[in-house]
């Protein structure tokens, strides 16, 4: 038994849902006999209060520090067990569930004894994982220093005003501290919103005058380092002098910019203009006279999603013109696909002001001429001409210049796009409120001034909430996040490149190196970065690769020669399997399901471990393509599976023994087909032949993928599929890439097998002996040996005029 892991296993009868199908008596006996199980008990309903109290009692009596409940879906029930066992300091990661009901009881026609045997294997695997767990201690998150509001967006002021109201110290980095000037400039990013200016004025006054705030006027953000709660921001002034500030949290308020429409729209800034230019004109020389046409041209701009927003601000500006210049005629021309975004009150006002809304047939793009605009009428399909004195177009919106620069420094830009995407992969709602860098403003997604101000307020309120929690000692570092082992990290940066959540940063090391650090409050715990680390320096704590390997190995060792296993992703395969189980769909009982949060989290060495330890096949069932909830987990899994396939064929095994599949949770019948197809393939091939020589090859395969940093490096650098269009700058020739990669694998695999021979028996060996042992081509072996001598892995001497090799 393990020195410190005391695991209790609780089997649930679940009324008549599990007990009649699985022989629980037999199961309890065999699980209880496992050396790493401290206690095993069967209960009527583990999840109801009587059951929970019983588990608590046993956990206290037996001083359990790991609990496994074998019952139903962990997706639904795990949080309840976690909540109940938290007072016993049994934390997230120390409690696990095995779905006997959905993955064993109902899905096959095996008899109760056979099902008990299958259940015992799954439970033993879970026990092995728990035994390998090295739980992290519970740490409180600390937030030191003020909140720094950067980005110069208009939401800065509402955020700062909210901070002032919440009495939290903040620093506000702005270009100018003159409210008049700020209001005057606001039309450049939010035109047509005069009605909000008084409210904005109030926010600005509040933000600038609060004793909790300090202003950083006219300074630019130059650098950011640190993690949540302890940031260092470097600002530079006009003279280039740098000044450093610490911050507990950052709120980024960034506004999108307007750019001139393409030449086809005839934009000249004087008569044909965008709304911000129109508003400048109104401010400069009063409302225009004559006919003003607002053409809501977002569909033609290629940004139809912002048509309603453009129409709303154009209408506000139009209403302002009509009110102040009754002589002017104002016409709104809009694509008929758009719904007029006016409320009932606004429609009434529209009628009163006599503003004309004309829809046009979007199939024919309106054409701008000098003084006229041709459009196709929807009802008669006649091309009409609209006379104008001023034509106002919708602007093109995107982030450029300073906004983009600041966003880059803050690490908000991950993908090329017009706007900033929400900073976080949305994985589990418990992460909501963990974002350290709150983002507000139209740079996130174009919005109205009111929306931007509300976003700023909301960001500040959330940040304040986080501070309050931290000060009260209630803010904890999440349990399942990545941690970097600085001893192993060489700073290659692969993880940072893969990380989608922005949780990995650079830290200046003592020797000038740049090892990575993880911000635990940002990390989503997806773990694809940890699985990609060539040096195993990145570990997903409380859910590590060592745990996964232990689980895989424990299960694989217990599998029969024709049995296989499957990793099911918590977002695709697992729910599909759960629902299949609930519906009582039947599939091949030789498949054994292991649930994982994401298939991208599985290191290739865990896959190799399954084959090494006795599984005859391994299938990974992930989400549907492009629906990964983490960061491209499916694509990463594909690259790893592909590598194992290549290595399998180098070892003389069938490539089909490992496969990647997709499942949609709402189509359990498809999941069943996937599983049946895979088990049929494995059954047709028969068990893996495991003569000592074959086994040595699988062992070498595992050692290679686990320890060989060259292969691991190449694998993590090539995790995206060729042909991927997300990172277009990174395209490679699919065939060339594959050939190069295969050649490297072949070379490294042969070296690995040679090392295996050298390690297994005392040398020295000559070339003939080595070739004979490996059954490989002498030329290749000779080349390989020479390379290994050059690398210093082995040495050679001469014996009887012949070179002999041995470990150096």
């Amino acid at each position: 038994m393990s020195a410190y892991a005391k695991t209790g296993v609780f089997l649930c009868k679940c009324g008549d849902k599990i007990a009649p199908f699985i022989n629980l008596e037999q199961l309890e006996k065999s699980v209880g006999a496992e050396p790493d199980v401290a206690h095993c008990a069967t209960m009527a309903f583990a999840c109801l209060k009587p059951g929970l109290e019983q588990i608590t009692q046993i956990a206290v009596d037996k001083q359990l520090n790991r609990v496994i409940v074998a019952g139903c879906e962990n997706r639904l029930m795990l949080s309840k067990f976690e909540e109940h066992l938290r007072p016993l300091e049994l934390l997230k990661g120390q409690i696990d569930m095995v779905n006997l009901r959905g993955h064993v009881a109902t899905v096959s026609d095996l008899d109760a004894e056979q099902k008990a045997t299958k259940s015992a294997k799954l439970i033993a695997a879970a026990v092995a994982e728990m035994t390998a767990l090295r739980p992290s201690s519970l740490t409180r998150a600390r937030l030191q220093g003020p909140v720094v509001i950067v980005g110069n967006g208009i939401a800065s002021f509402s955020a700062a005003a909210e901070m002032a109201r919440q009495k939290i110290d903040y620093r506000l980095a702005v270009e100018s501290a003159d409210p008049g000037l700020i209001i005057e400039r606001i039309h450049e990013t939010y035109p047509g919103e005069q009605s909000y200016h008084p409210r904005l004025q109030k926010s600005i006054q509040e933000a600038l005058q609060s004793p909790h705030g300090k202003l950083l006027v006219g300074r630019k953000l130059a650098m950011l380092s640190g993690v949540t709660g302890d940031y260092t921001l470097t600002f530079s002034d006009d003279q280039g002098a740098h000044e450093k500030f610490t911050a507990g949290a950052i709120i980024a308020c960034l506004d999108a910019q307007f750019t001139r429409p393409k030449p086809g729209f005839g934009h000249d800034g004087k008569t044909v203009m965008i709304p911000s230019e129109m508003e400048s004109l109104i401010l400069r020389s009063g409302p225009p006279k004559g006919t003003v046409v607002f053409w809501i041209s977002d569909y033609e701009n290629g940004q139809p999603e912002f048509a309603a927003l453009s129409a709303k601000s154009a209408w506000q500006m139009a209403a302002h013109i009509r009110q102040t210049s009754p002589a002017a005629t104002v016409i709104m021309l809009y694509n008929q696909q758009m719904e007029v975004p006016l409320t009932a009150a606004e429609r009434a006002m529209n009628r009163k002001l006599n503003l004309l809304w004309i829809p046009y047939d979007g199939a024919m793009r309106p054409t701008v001429q000098d003084g006229f605009l041709t459009f196709c009428n929807l009802s008669d399909h006649v091309e009409h001409e609209l006379r104008w004195n001023h034509l106002v177009l919708s602007p093109e919106r995107m982030i450029t210049g300073e906004t983009l620069r600041v966003a880059r420094i803050l690490g908000l830009v991950h993908k090329e796009g017009r706007f900033l995407t929400g900073h976080h992969a949305r994985v589990r709602p418990e992460m909501v409120g963990r974002e350290e860098t709150y983002l507000a403003g139209s740079a996130r997604l174009p919005c109205s001034l009111a929306d931007a101000l509300a976003q700023g307020r909301r960001a500040a309120a959330k940040t304040a909430e986080m501070f309050r929690k931290a000060n009260a000692g209630e803010l904890f570092v999440p349990r399942i996040v990545c941690v970097v082992d600085p001893e192993k990290c060489i700073g290659c940066g692969q993880c940072q490149e893969l990380c989608d959540c922005g949780g990995i940063g650079v830290e200046e090391g003592p020797g000038g190196g740049l090892p990575r650090i993880v911000d635990p409050m940002v990390c989503t715990g997806g773990g694809t970065c940890a699985a990609a680390c060539p040096y195993h320096a990145l570990v997903l704590q409380n859910n590590s690769n060592d745990q996964r390997e232990a689980r895989v190995a424990a299960l694989a060792r217990r599998l029969g020669p024709d049995e296989s296993m499957a990793f099911v992703c918590g977002w695709g395969g697992l729910p599909a399997a759960d629902i299949a189980g609930k519906q009582g769909l039947k599939y091949d009982p030789r498949i054994h399901l292991l649930s994982v949060p994401c298939v991208g989290q599985i290191d290739a060495c865990a896959m190799a471990r399954a084959l090494k330890e006795g599984a005859s096949g391994l299938v990974l069932v992930g989400c549907l393509p492009e629906t990964c909830h983490h960061s491209y987990g499916l694509d990463h899994a594909w690259a790893r599976v592909n590598t194992i396939k290549k290595l399998l064929s180098l070892s003389g095994f069938q490539r089909e023994r490992i496969a990647l599949a997709h499942a949609d949770l709402n189509r359990p019948e498809d999941f069943v087909r996937t599983v049946d197809s895979f088990t049929r393939t494995i059954a047709a091939m028969g068990p893996m032949v495991r003569t000592p020589e074959d086994q040595a090859k699988v062992d070498a395969l595992y050692d290679l993928i686990k320890h060989n940093t060259r292969v691991r490096h190449l694998l993590s650098a090539g995790l995206r599929r060729p042909g991927e269009d997300t990172y277009q700058g990174d395209q490679r020739h699919a065939l060339d890439y594959d050939r190069d990669f295969s050649a490297v694998l072949a070379e490294e695999f042969l070296q690995q097998r040679l090392l295996q021979v050298f390690r297994a028996a005392k040398g020295p060996f000559n070339l003939d002996e080595l070739t004979g042992r490996l059954h490989e081509d002498p030329n290749q072996v000779a080349t390989c040996l020479w390379e290994m001598v050059q690398n210093g892995q082995i040495g050679f001497t001469h014996k009887n005029h012949e070179a002999v090799y041995a470990l150096s």
């Binding site: 029930m77 949305r426 949770l665 709402n666």
Partner: protein
């Protein structure tokens, strides 16, 4: 410890348990539909009704939300309970005639037909709200809720449009006791854009 009787059988419970939990702990079967251990009980479906007797006086309560008390006299299979159960099953059969789960459960309790008129022969949802509760309590979101009131009440997302709030975890599909969420789910998360969905 609290001791009371269920079907004349002496049972013991701790304060805070419900009648249903105590019954299940003692292997006494009470049918339920809208009850799931992952979420708080709501007592909506009325299938778990049991009779409480005190002398010549008796009342029916929903066992999933009724707390235990010293000296209760609970009966799970009296004529009155069976009558209510039959009525509930008949109403459920009329409300969701297309749900095989409900038909199976009703048949198990001897109800195979209904005297009520069925308005929608395709309906499988009985609006028990388990999906909304699991979304809020377990997942921590509120992507799904009951909309409209009274006889028009149904399950869906705001404005009957796919919602961004939904993370497509499928907890609602897993928890749904009638299998109705399978057809509603796509209208909440949005149909995944893929051609891999039709393998067969």
């Amino acid at each position: 410890m609290i001791t009371f009787k269920i079907n004349d059988q002496e049972v013991s419970a701790r304060p805070g348990w419900t009648v249903l939990e105590t019954a299940r702990e003692h292997d006494i079967d009470i049918p339920t539909l809208c009850f799931h251990p992952a979420v708080s009980a709501s007592g909506a479906c009325r299938l778990c009704m049991v009779e409480l007797r005190e002398g010549s006086w008796s009342k029916l309560v929903a066992s999933c939300i009724y707390p235990v008390a010293e000296g209760l006299q609970v009966f799970t299979e009296t004529e009155r309970v069976r009558n209510v159960r039959r009525w509930v099953f008949e109403m459920l059969l009329a409300a969701c005639p297309a749900s095989p789960e409900i038909a199976r459960m009703a048949a198990k309790h001897g109800v195979t037909s209904t005297r009520f008129e069925s308005h929608d022969p395709e309906q499988t949802c009985m609006v028990c709200g388990l999906c909304a509760r699991v979304c809020e309590e377990v997942v921590g979101l509120s992507a799904i809720a009951t909309v409209d009131r009274g006889v028009h009440k149904r399950v869906g997302a705001p404005f009957a449009k796919p919602t961004d709030v939904c993370v497509a975890c499928g907890s609602c599909v897993t928890i749904c006791p009638t299998g109705a969420m399978q057809s509603i789910f796509d209208s909440i998360r949005g149909v995944p854009a893929t051609n891999l969905t039709q393998l067969g």
